[in-house]
Structures are given as C-alpha cells and as structure tokens.
C-alpha cells in the first residue's frame, strides 16, 4: 500500500488506527511465522476454560444458523438435522438427556437427526424454547431460525422433487384466458 507523505500527514501516519500493512514480502518468513504461531496457539488452547469453549461453540452454532437462513440456498451438508445434531451434541454428552429435557422420546430424536422422520410442530416449538433458555445466558437468539431452517429444507426438498408432483398438478390446474 502506497502511503503518500506530505506536510499534512506525518503525524497521522503514526496512528495505528489509520493503516496497517501486514503483507509478507518473503514466503519463507511467512511459513516460518505461521508455524510458530500455530504451535503457540495450540499451547494456549490448553489453558482455555471449558466455559469459554462451550460459549464459543454455541456462538458458532448461532451464527451458522443465522447465516444459513440469510443465505437461503440449499445445502445437502447442512440443514435442520445437521444443526439439531450439532446443537444437541454441543450441550449434552448423551442425546437421551436432551430428549428428556424437552420431553420427547429418544427414538424420535434419533429419527429426526437421521432424517428418517420430519420434526413435528411440537418438536420444533420445544427446540425453540430450549434454545431461548440456553442462549439467554449468552447472547439473545431469534429462535425462529429453527422453524425457518425446517421450512427452507422442506421448500428445497419439494422443489428438487418436481418430477414427482408437477405433472399431476399441471393436469389439475387451469388458467382461464384473461382478456
């Protein structure tokens, strides 16, 4: 980055909040420093408390949920089942404990996570209430993200399977000529 020096700028240029140029000019130096940094980071990670680890994982889930809804595009890797599994596994050692806390059967939970069964409204509402309680201790979450992700998944699945329903409905639906 070229920084133009003139009589009006010399003091400003020393202000660290004005500009930082941290590009490397040597690939070897970059690799060396990256290696040293990674080693130091892994060492520092050992001193992070379990509380901070949990908080970070929950924040990650929250922001990933929000990004997924904002993006609105289908993603086979993610979706309701993925986020549900990640959320439950972050908070509980055993999934059955989550099932007990929200008063659903462990079998139902397993079927929803495994995508063998769709979540009912009752299930989603309980999940929303559970999230609200968890995140109230951390950072408020718009719990409707769970419902939105479920609806997004449903929409994408329906549109991806048009061959199964389009022809049938095309026969039934007519549009009268509008003059």
């Amino acid at each position: 980055m070229n920084i133009v020096m003139n009589k009006y700028l010399p003091n400003t240029i020393q202000d660290p909040e004005w500009a930082v140029d941290s590009r490397y000019h040597s690939a070897d130096e970059e690799k060396r420093e990256a290696k040293a940094l990674l080693k130091a980071r892994l060492q520092r990670l050992k001193n992070v408390s379990e509380q901070d680890k949990l908080m970070t994982k929950l924040l990650q889930i929250k922001w990933q949920l929000e990004d997924y809804v904002k993006c609105g595009q289908p993603n086979k890797e993610y979706g309701f089942a993925y986020f549900l599994a990640t959320y439950v596994d972050t908070l509980y050692l055993k999934r059955i404990d989550f099932a007990k806390d929200v008063h659903i059967s462990a079998v139902l939970l397993s079927q929803v996570i495994g995508k063998h069964r769709e979540p009912s409204l009752d299930f989603i509402l309980k999940l929303m209430v559970h999230s609200k309680k968890v995140f109230s201790l951390l950072e408020p979450i718009d719990v409707s993200v769970w419902y939105r992700i479920y609806l997004l998944d449903k929409l994408h699945h329906t549109l991806a399977n048009q061959s199964a329903w389009l022809k049938q409905y095309e026969k039934q639906v007519k549009v009268k000529a509008i003059v």
């Binding site: 660290p16 140029d21 990256a34 940094l37 130091a40 992070v48």
Partner: protein, 100 residues
C-alpha cells in the same frame, strides 16, 4: 469509512488481516467516527468464529512500533512479529464491537 483485506488460511483455522485502514477523517483528534479499525477487526473475528469455532484465530502483523498498541487495546497475543487473537479474547473483541 474503512477498508480491510483478509486472507484465509483454513488449514490453520486462521484469518490474517493483510491490510487495514480507516478513512483520514476518522483518525486523529478531529475524527468524525471512532472505532473503525476495531469494528472491522470484530467483523473478521466473527467470520473466523463462525467458520472455525473453537480453533478460530485472527492474525495481524503491524510494524514493531505499533504492536504494543494492538496488544494493549485488543488484548492480542504476540508470537514473533505476528499478533493474534484466539478464544477467549476473540469473543471479547466481538462482544465489545458487535453488540453496542
């Protein structure tokens, strides 16, 4: 108001700030808006945590004379000439600048 250029190092779970600058009228004694650099860094920090979770890292390599400012203000860790933010300090930065 400001610009930031970031490089991703996914194998190291790290986002490196290559360039960071605030507009001239937002720096110095007569600045119009404050905390431009902090907000930009916090935005990138949030991206890092969203993508890398617990392993998230934000790094920066300022001039030696400016490093102490970043260590003091943003609680960055120094490793050689590199300054970095990891958990939990990275969450503190996000809390301070993203939740005003």
């Amino acid at each position: 108001m400001g610009l930031i250029s970031v490089e991703r190092f996914p194998m190291e779970w790290r986002l490196h700030i290559r360039l960071l600058c605030a507009a001239r009228n937002h720096v110095g004694k007569n600045k119009i808006y404050d905390r431009i650099a902090g907000n930009l860094m916090a935005y990138v920090a949030k991206l890092a945590v969203t993508e890398f979770g617990l392993m998230a890292c934000l790094s920066l390599r300022p001039k030696t004379s400016l490093a102490s400012h970043y260590c003091r203000k943003y609680r960055m860790n120094a490793t050689g000439t590199l300054l970095s933010l990891e958990v939990p300090e990275i969450n503190n930065l996000i809390n301070e600048y993203c939740h005003e």
